[in-house]
Amino acid sequence: MTDEPREFPSSTPRPEGEVEELRRIWARPEGLHKLTAVNNTDIGLFYMGAAFLFFHLAGVLALLMRVQLSRPDNTFLGQEFYNQVFTVHCSTMMFLFAVPAVEALGVILLPQMLAARDLPFPRLSAFAIWAYVIGGLVFFSTVFYDLAPNGGWFMYPPLTLTTYSPGDNADFWLLGIGFIEISAIAGAIEIVVGTLRTRPPGMSLDKMPLFAWAMLIFAAMIVFAFPAVILATMLLEIERSFGWPFFTAARGGDPLLWQHLFWFFGHPEVYIIFLPAAALVSMIVPTMAQTPLVGYRLNVVALIGTGFFSFGLWVHHMFATGLPALSLSFFSAASMTVAIPSAIQVFSWIATIAAGRERFRITTPSLFVLGFLFIFAIGGLTGVMVAVAPFDFQAHDTYFVVAHFHYVLIGGMVFPLFATYYYWAPMVSRNMLSEKLGRWVFWLIFLGFNITFFPMHITGLLGMPRRVWTYPAGMGWDGLNLLSTVGSFMIAAGALLFVIDLVRRLRPGEPTPENPWNAGTLEWLVTDVYSTRTIPHVTSREPLWDQPNLYADVEAGRYYLPGAPTGGRETIVTSPIEGEPQYVIRMIGPGWAHFFAAVFTAACFLLLTIKLVWPALACFVLAILSCFVWVWELDREPLAEPVDIGGGIKLPTYVSGPMSHAWWAMVVLMLVAGSLYVTFVFSYLYIWTVAPQTYPPIGAPMPPAFEWPFASGALMVASIVAFKEADRFRPQPGAKNLLAPLLIFVGAACLLAGVGIESLGHWRAGLSATETSYGAMVYMASILNGELAFATALMAGYTLVRFILGKVDAVRRTTFECTALLSYYTAGQTLFGLALIHGFPHLIG
């Protein structure tokens, strides 16, 4: 639709008052209303601030641990407190700092790099952030009143079952962290759709900045990896609360199931953190060398390769569990493979530095990049070492591994993050950060880091296991530990100096310095609250270097969307591959509803943790109601005419179906649900492998007779038919039609009834959920289907109300479409589950 001749930069003069109107539309809420803000720069900075706060809080815990370990037989922290401290340190760093910090960077940088006015789901981002901040603060605060989890960040059962961890401590981890994972997934959906659909016109995938590539892969990895840990936390919490024996060996469960699920998430998690950070380096190095990245395509392949391989090597965290040699060899080889994409990236940075038009500029960001190269290289090399199974038998769970993963995570993520702070500060702040203090910050952190963590390699080889709160004298560990403690305080001094610099110099707001590093990508265009004045047409990977006068033309309103043709917040949606403009998305502004949705969701989970079930339920209802209020303003009435986005191009403002961003988000959500279900299927089959003699195991009946699954399956099919028919009977705008709402009602009811019948069948057959792990798994299938059916029913009810009020019709379809998509998915998943649960025992029996 955009093949008509373009005249960009256009020479048509812009009308008076256009900029003022944009400013009014995108105005920042002030005062208490700041809580309602949704614009990416505002909430992104807040997001980053929160993540950075957690970084420092967890860092303080690290210092406490280092003081405790500075000498043998120390009693500075007691055993119980130390165990809580290391659990909270790891959990906070992984879940409350690393992943949110990267998502925050995505929220801040992506719209700028893509010159979008905002990401497509502003309130979803804001919801995710508030949920995370509230949940995170409550989770962290448990360390102050002896309620913090103490099972280690990977929470291995049986240690974390009620028998061995009776208090609420473990529940804070399971519900608190589980809930924050949901927030991460919400962010991931935003990022997938944002990178694929809100790029500037002309920016085909092969012109996308590497950071956007990395964020796309990052978000896709979250979509596939996080469901595994969400399922794991569900299973463990259900076993703790209701005694369903998923992990209890005596009743057919297996503690190793947890480890498989946890590491299926946990290993990709490392790359989830690392890939975006590596891509930040790929953005900074070309600027400092003043030349395009050497090997852009190889880098993209490397990013995708890393993402792909990272799902195939989780078992290397389990080498010492007694696996057969064949598995060890396979996962050993897979683990080594992932070193190759990293090597590609390292040498592409070196090649870029060498290819520079001028000598590589040694600025503070460059120093952090070079520090990252050195530290990450060591972490990568020790990573290859621990990938060799026999060496891992010695190194596993020792300080060698502690050293290794700090080299990888601090080297691979924190150093690039500091480089990012120095490099991108002038994008959001009137001042740059101090280059002079920056050198001090770098050298303190760099030297402190190596002094802290390099000795740990040796401490580990000398036999010191990780997670010990004390150690005896005479093991040869004393001096090394003292050295590590000294180093850790150097890091702290560096971090403190950085905060001082931040407080002194960071002044968010306009005007920002004009492209201070002479970088080539779009985030250095001049911005205001509405982002860039116009959305440029991009023809190069480094548009600011290659497209002459782009800077001024964008600012003068000579590109896309110079005004606000619909009178509200909007940005251009482009096609996912080629970046052709497709439609104008009308976005939603500040509001309270998503904020309260986040507050009540957080409250619901936290009240559940301390077993206040009824208040939790009340918060759940309030959260759902808040969500309804939030989305009520979405799916607005379609405008009859396409709008002019400049240069004589007219785009529609309402689309549905596969072109719409809502459809894309729904599909990503279905992928999340699908991943969750696949990990469940894995768990079901895994339980069979550990109890292969008879199946179902002794004490559990065969699945009920054929009528039961048949009835349930027939209801699923009926639900699909009902929603399909409802789609056909949508009325023309303005007309009414009772058949469509009736069909929606029937479709949702069939889903609920079908799931109910399935559970009832097993219950009538005498299957117990608490006696065998098999029984627990069978009912778990229905829980997963039931959750979706329940969600579909809620959405169906919402759609019905909108139908009745004339807000759904033959054109205005998005609300209905999202509900229908979820209903089809639910029916499909349930049908698959019926085949598995009823077929498999017969197949192997």
């Binding site: 190889l298 010492a320 007694g322 060899s329 090649a351 050195f374 026999p390 997670r467």
Partner: protein
């Protein structure tokens, strides 16, 4: 700079070897640990060379003469150093790793000594079998014969633990519902230390053990003695200690073979006086430490499953400790 780095590189192995403590994987006393230590040094030196190469390339890229920089500044270096070289090096390493993984110990064909160890919170239940197959139970210390294959069956009574005696071999987890078998063979006689390597809650840090490698005849002699009943108390004081042990219900949890004490909850104390340590290598083994343990164990090893007994007078406590210390 280069000279100093050179010295440091040569000094590093010496440094590590010299401070190799009782629990160091770098001063091996077993065939398995030795092979892994060799593997470690090969990989470390290789990694060092690779790291230096990468740093050199980075140095040239930043500070090198224009001609060198031009040669580095293309996709060639990415393919050569980022793809081909790693593929070659990693393939070789993978094969080497397989060889170490699958290596069997010389000399094969000798029947292995079998030991079963059960991980408990937070101690080790150790079970031997004598020639007739009778169970001999001990705790928190293992003895093995030198030069003979040993098969250690590892299980858990509660949570996941991991058995790790670094001087002999790598670690292997003890997982509820599973049975893992660790095969190792000691090369030299001597005493070393092992520790639980999988976080097992509470007093995980205080769950260690001593491993004593002895010549085979000495081991056989020890095993025969270990299988016997406890020594009868010889003095008035130790007889009083034995009476106190019985009268205060210690036998509900602990067994002392040859007496009425037959508890199975806590460690077997039949020959406790002959062990190198108390409380899973937390305390030295002498009368004073035993007394401290009985009355104040929750401060020594917080959370351990034995309640502190403060009911004894000093004289009673001495008697009880003397009795236990005498069970050699």
């Amino acid at each position: 700079m280069t000279k100093r780095a050179g010295i440091a590189a040569r000094a590093a192995p010496l440094l590590l070897a010299s401070c190799g403590g009782v629990q160091s994987s770098l001063s091996p006393q077993g065939f398995e640990a030795e092979r892994v230590a060799t593997l470690f040094w090969v990989m470390t030196i290789g990694s060092g060379v690779i790291l230096l190469g990468a740093l050199l390339a980075a140095g040239i890229a930043i500070y090198g003469p224009a001609g060198w920089r031009r040669r580095l500044g293309g996709e060639g270096i990415i393919l050569n150093a980022g793809v081909y070289l790693p593929v070659a090096v990693l393939s070789a390493l993978l094969v080497y790793g397989f060889v170490v993984l699958r290596a069997t110990n010389p000399p094969s064909g000798i029947a292995a000594t079998k030991i079963a160890i059960v991980g408990e919170r937070w101690w080790w239940r150790v079970q031997y079998r004598d020639g007739a197959g009778h169970l001999i139970e001990s705790a928190n210390e293992i003895r093995i014969p030198v030069g003979r294959p040993v098969e250690i069956e590892l299980t858990s009574a509660d949570v996941i633990h991991s058995f790790w005696a670094p001087k002999l071999a790598g670690k292997l987890d003890m997982i509820p519902g599973r049975k893992n078998v660790l095969r190792l063979q000691a090369k030299e006689i001597g005493v070393s230390r092992g520790q639980c390597a999988e976080y097992c809650g509470g007093a995980h840090a205080l769950m260690s053990l001593y491993v004593i490698v002895a010549p085979e005849p000495e081991f056989e002699q020890w095993l025969a003695y270990e299988g016997g009943a406890a020594a009868a108390p010889a003095t008035e004081q130790t007889r009083e200690g034995m009476r106190l042990f019985g009268a205060n219900g210690c036998g509900a949890c602990h067994a002392i073979r040859g007496t009425s004490a037959a508890g199975v909850v806590g460690p077997d104390l039949t020959h406790i006086g002959g062990r190198m340590s108390l409380a899973a290598a937390t305390l030295p083994n002498d009368e004073a430490a035993i007394a401290r343990w009985i009355s104040d164990n929750q401060h020594i090893k917080p959370g351990n499953l034995m309640p502190p007994y403060r009911i004894f007078s000093d004289r009673e406590l001495s008697a009880l400790s003397a009795y236990l210390a005498g069970l050699r």
